[in-house]
C-alpha cells in the first residue's frame, strides 16, 4: 500500500506492464520527455528510448502506426495529448482499430491502449477541455474506461494493456494530482465492473471520472438531510456494468446520472435507456441527468465554473427526484 497521485498511479500501472512485457511500447508527442504532465516521466530512462517513442504532431498517422504495430504483435500505448485532438485520429480508431477483428472474421486483433486526458481544468477553452467519451460508445469494438481515483487508474491501466481489444483510457486532467492509497496492483477490480462507493437506500447517484468526487460530497451532505444516497462509480463505459446499476435502482427506485460531458447524447442517456428497460416498474421518479450545458466549453472563469456540474447541482437533482412521486 502506497499513497500515489492519480498521475503516478497511471505511470505505475504502465511501467509495471512495460517491465513485464517487452512488447508494450509508448507512442506520443513529447512522451520520451515525460509528456506535458509527466505521466511517462522516467520510463525511457529505465527501459530504453526505443520503448517510448516521440512522435511528430500527426495524431491520425500515429494512431495508425500504433494499430499496425498492434496487428504485428506489439501492445502499443498511444498518448493523444488532449481528447479534443482525437478528432484527428478518428478514422484510424473508428474504421480500423475498432473493426479489424470483426471485419477479418477474427483473423486479426488490435491490442491497443489509447491514453487521453479530458475535461475542464485551467480555463483552457473549448479545444482543450471537452469530455468526448460518449462518441466512442457508438462504435462497437472499442472499450472505454474512465478511472476516478488512483487505485482504479493503476488497475484499469494494467487491464487495458492486457486486453486484446482497443481500449480508450480517458484520464481527467483535474485529477492528476489528487492522492490516495493504492493497494499493491491497484484496486484489483475487473475492468467491466462498476463500483459501489457508498451504499444507500433512497436514491442512486451514478457518476464517472471527476464527477465521482462531487457525487460523494453531495451524498455526504444529503445524509445530513436524512437522505441515504448510493454512489456508483461507472469506471468502465464499454462494457457497461448495467447489472450493478439495475440492482441498485431496484433498491432505491431513483436514479441520477452525473457526467461532465454535455447533456445531449451523453452516457446519461444510454444509462437511462438501459435502466428503464430493466427496472422501469421499480422507478418512483424520472431518471435525471446532471451534466454540462449543451454548449462548447467556455474559457472565462465564471463561465467555466458554471459549465461544470458540482455538488450543489447534484443535491438539487436528488431533491427534485425525491419530490417527484408516482401518480
Amino acid at each position: 500500500m502506497a499513497e500515489l497521485s492519480y498521475l503516478e498511479a497511471i505511470r505505475s500501472g504502465l511501467l509495471a506492464e512495460m517491465r513485464e512485457d517487452p512488447s508494450v511500447y509508448v507512442f506520443g508527442e513529447d512522451v520520451a520527455l515525460g509528456g506535458p504532465f509527466g505521466v511517462t516521466q522516467g520510463i525511457a530512462e529505465e527501459l530504453g528510448g526505443h520503448r517510448v517513442v516521440n512522435t511528430p504532431i500527426s495524431e491520425g498517422t500515429v494512431m495508425g502506426v500504433a494499430i499496425g504495430a498492434a496487428l504485428s504483435g506489439l501492445r502499443p500505448v498511444v498518448e493523444i495529448m488532449f481528447v479534443d485532438f482525437i478528432t484527428l485520429a478518428m478514422d484510424q480508431l473508428v474504421n480500423h482499430a475498432a473493426k479489424l477483428h470483426y471485419m477479418s472474421g477474427g483473423q486479426l486483433k488490435v491490442p491497443l491502449t489509447v491514453r487521453v486526458q479530458c475535461g475542464v481544468q485551467g480555463n483552457m477553452g473549448a479545444h482543450h477541455s471537452q469530455s468526448l467519451e460518449s462518441w466512442f460508445l457508438h462504435v462497437p469494438g472499442l472499450k472505454v474506461v474512465m478511472p476516478s481515483n488512483p487505485a482504479d487508474a493503476e488497475s484499469l491501466m494494467r487491464n487495458a494493456i492486457r486486453d486484446d481489444n482497443p481500449v480508450l483510457f480517458i484520464e481527467h486532467r483535474a485529477l492528476y494530482f489528487s492522492r490516495a492509497e493504492v493497494p499493491e496492483g491497484g484496486s484489483g477490480l475487473a475492468m467491466d465492473r462498476a463500483s459501489v462507493l457508498r451504499p444507500g437506500t433512497d436514491v442512486t447517484v451514478a457518476a464517472l471520472s471527476k464527477m465521482v468526487q462531487p457525487a460523494l460530497e453531495a451524498a455526504e451532505a444529503l445524509a445530513g438531510e436524512g437522505v441515504s444516497a448510493e454512489v456508483i462509480d461507472l469506471r468502465c463505459l464499454v462494457p457497461l456494468d448495467i447489472d450493478t446499476l439495475v440492482e441498485s435502482v431496484r433498491k432505491t427506485s431513483r436514479l441520477i446520472v452525473v457526467h461532465e460531458a454535455v447533456e445531449q447524447g451523453g452516457i446519461g442517456a444510454e444509462v437511462a435507456a438501459l435502466v428503464q428497460e430493466r427496472a422501469l416498474y421499480y422507478l418512483d421518479s424520472p431518471i435525471l441527468r446532471v451534466a454540462a450545458p449543451n454548449a462548447p466549453v467556455p474559457c472565462a472563469p465564471p463561465l467555466e465554473t458554471f459549465f461544470v456540474p458540482d455538488k450543489e447541482r447534484i443535491m438539487e437533482a436528488v431533491r427534485r427526484s425525491l419530490a417527484s412521486q408516482p401518480a
Binding site: 504485428s72 477479418s104 486479426l108 481489444n165
Partner: protein, 332 residues
Amino acid sequence: MTAAKQGRAKAPARRDENRDPVSLLRRMWVIRAFEEKVSALYAAREIVGLLHLGIGQEAVAVGVCGMLDADDLVYGGHRSHGHAIAKGADLNRLMAELAGRATGYCRGKGGSMHVVAAETGFVTASGVVGGTVPLALGAAFAAREKGVGRVAVVFFGDGAGQTGPFHESLNIASLWGLPVIFVCENNGYAEFTPLSAHTKVERLARHAETYGIPSATVDGNDILAVRKAMGRAVDNARAGKGPTFVECLTYRLRGHYEGDPGKYRELSQLADWKKKDPIARFTRVLKRRRAASAKDFEEAEGDARALVEAAAEFALASPWPEPEETGTQVWA
C-alpha cells in the same frame, strides 16, 4: 491439378523461386481471370456490394509481391483483390468472401474492400482511401523492433496522395528510417476525376523527394520494370536503409467501381491503354526472348481460368453465414 483443388495460385514462398518468368505471367493471368469472373458474377447478381477491380494493373501487384518473402507484410486499399492474390491468397476463400459466404477469409464479414488473408501476409485492405498507409508503418516499426528483417509494403492510388495521413506517413517513415515500401499505383484517376484536377504534382514520387525518401517512377504496366524498382527498395529496407517510394504509372481498364459508366474518360484513352495491357505486353516480351512455348502461354491463361471457375463454384456452393454471426467476433 492439385493447385485447382486448393484454389491457390502458385504463389512464391521466396522471391528467388519467382525468377521463372512464366510463373509471373501465370500469376498475372490468375488475377485477370479472377477479376473478370468477379465482374461476370456481379453482373449476374451472384456477387453484390461495392467492387473495385484492378483489371489492367496486374503487373504492379505481381511485380511487387513477387519480390517479397512469404513473411513480409502487405497492406492494400479498396482495389486490392490482385494484391491479395499476388501475396498468395487462396482463390476459393477469396471468392467466397466476395460472395459473402461463411467459407470466406473473413466469414463474409469483410467483403471486397476489407479482405484479410493474414496467413499469407496480406494484412488488410481498407475502404478508406489512404487509410492503410499509417498501418504499414506500424508493421515496419514492429518488424524492426523484433529484428526479423521483415519489410512492409503498402499499395495505394494517386488519390491517396492528397490525404493528410499520406504526408504524415512519408514524414514519419523517413524520420524513423522504417523498412516500409510505398507503392503508388498511379492510374491517373481518383474516382472519376483526373489527377490533374486534384493536384499540380503530376508525379507523386515528388512528395517522397520532399521528405527525403528515395523514389522511382516506373512504367507500372511493365512487370520487369516494377520488379527492378522493387528489388532495390526491398534490398534497402532489409539493409536498414529505410523506406522507398515506388510510383507505378498504370491504368484501370474498368470503371472506378463495377457499374461505373465511366463517362469521364475518353474512349480513345481507354483504347490506348488497352494496347499497353500488361499481360499482352509481357507475353510479347517472353515471345521475343523465346522464354516460353506456345503451350506455356495457352496454359497460363487456361489454368488460371480453370482455377477461377473452381473458386467460383466453391464460393457459390458454400453456405451463407448464420444471421446470429452478426454479433460475434466484435470482441477479441
